[in-house]
Symmetry: C2
């Protein structure tokens, strides 16, 4: 019977990824302000200075966390929208509602991540080659509006609605996680949005 001695290898393998993932997890759990580069390095089992071989400074690491956060938000909204099948009025309406609810749900489930992702340390400076403006979650909301538009259900001109609904959903999510607005208001808010945007059925 051979004795196997598990050895921690001197070279990590993919320390960049490991640091980024650990930082993400710590931001998720404690919030961006409470995360230090030292703590992240320690959790990964590496000296703090090792991080400087992979990131120019702490800011860069934190920005990558923000990027991961927005990917997660994108994933959730897309998933919610795709889960609603059908091409009719009912489906298109429900899709918009579900997409908005998913956005808000992300903030509710992961408030630290949400704050960090849209906070001053991340938001302004998107990752190279990306403008946050055309984030996937924004585009997903837009596609829900397209569906409604195609069915002739929008009560107002299509242009500008993207931004309005994104603003409303984002603002509500922000107010919600700070306790300024109650979680129970989420359903009613999305209902109001729909009732304002979607023309009532002609019968």
């Amino acid at each position: 019977m051979a004795t196997v001695i598990a050895t921690v290898p001197y070279h990590h393998g993919d320390l960049h990824e490991a640091l980024s993932a650990e930082a993400f997890e710590q931001v998720r759990a404690k919030g961006g302000d409470a995360v230090s580069l030292r703590a992240v390095a320690q959790s990964v089992g590496v000296s703090a200075s090792a991080a400087y071989h992979h990131f120019p400074d702490k800011t860069a690491l934190m920005q990558e966390v923000g990027h991961r956060g927005s990917l997660e938000l994108d994933r959730r909204t897309l998933l919610a929208a795709d889960a609603v099948r059908g091409r009719g009025r009912r489906a298109a309406t429900e899709r918009l509602r579900a997409c908005g609810a998913a956005y808000i749900g992300f903030a509710q489930d992961e408030p630290h991540l949400f704050r960090h992702t849209f906070g001053p340390d991340c938001a302004g400076s998107a990752l190279p080659g990306e403008k946050t403006k055309d984030s996937a979650s924004y585009r997903t909301l837009g596609r829900c509006l397209d569906d409604l538009d195609r069915l002739g259900l929008l009560g107002a001109p299509r242009a500008g609605l993207d931004l309005m609904i994104w603003s409303a959903v984002h603002g509500f999510a922000s107010l919600l996680i700070e306790g300024i607005v109650p979680a129970e208001a989420t359903g009613p808010l999305m209902a109001t949005m729909v009732s304002v945007l979607v023309r009532p059925p002609t019968r």
Copy 2:
């Protein structure tokens, strides 16, 4: 001719107020995260420990800053709404637009203050006897909607519109100050809001 020796009095007069005002100013200029109790005390010309005769801890001081911030926001929105005179369709519509624009303008002019006021250090815990929910700026927006409603101009049921418009304005302001959405979009956003909420003139 008498020589007047200006003496800094040992007792300050109103150190609570002075600290609060100085903290407000520093948050305004540098952002909440960059403000330390020590720096505030020093600016006022007092030892850091003196602050503890007036505030239980730093958090309490910062919360008071947040309160001042929301008062300023209230002041601006109210001022903007009141500046629009008249009782007709035109005035009511313009009043809503102006009120929303003032909210956004506050964020734009004082991003640090805006972030701090609605940030996790302040928002949740309102000052005793106050629920942030019925903040004056929220109520001012609501009164603009009331005006429109009274004229029969709302295209959707009145209930819920307050929250929707507040969310939209707040969300847009948040996205704006993080550079995610351009300042030029402010006008179009408010135009979209109006076009969505206000029934077109029957002619």
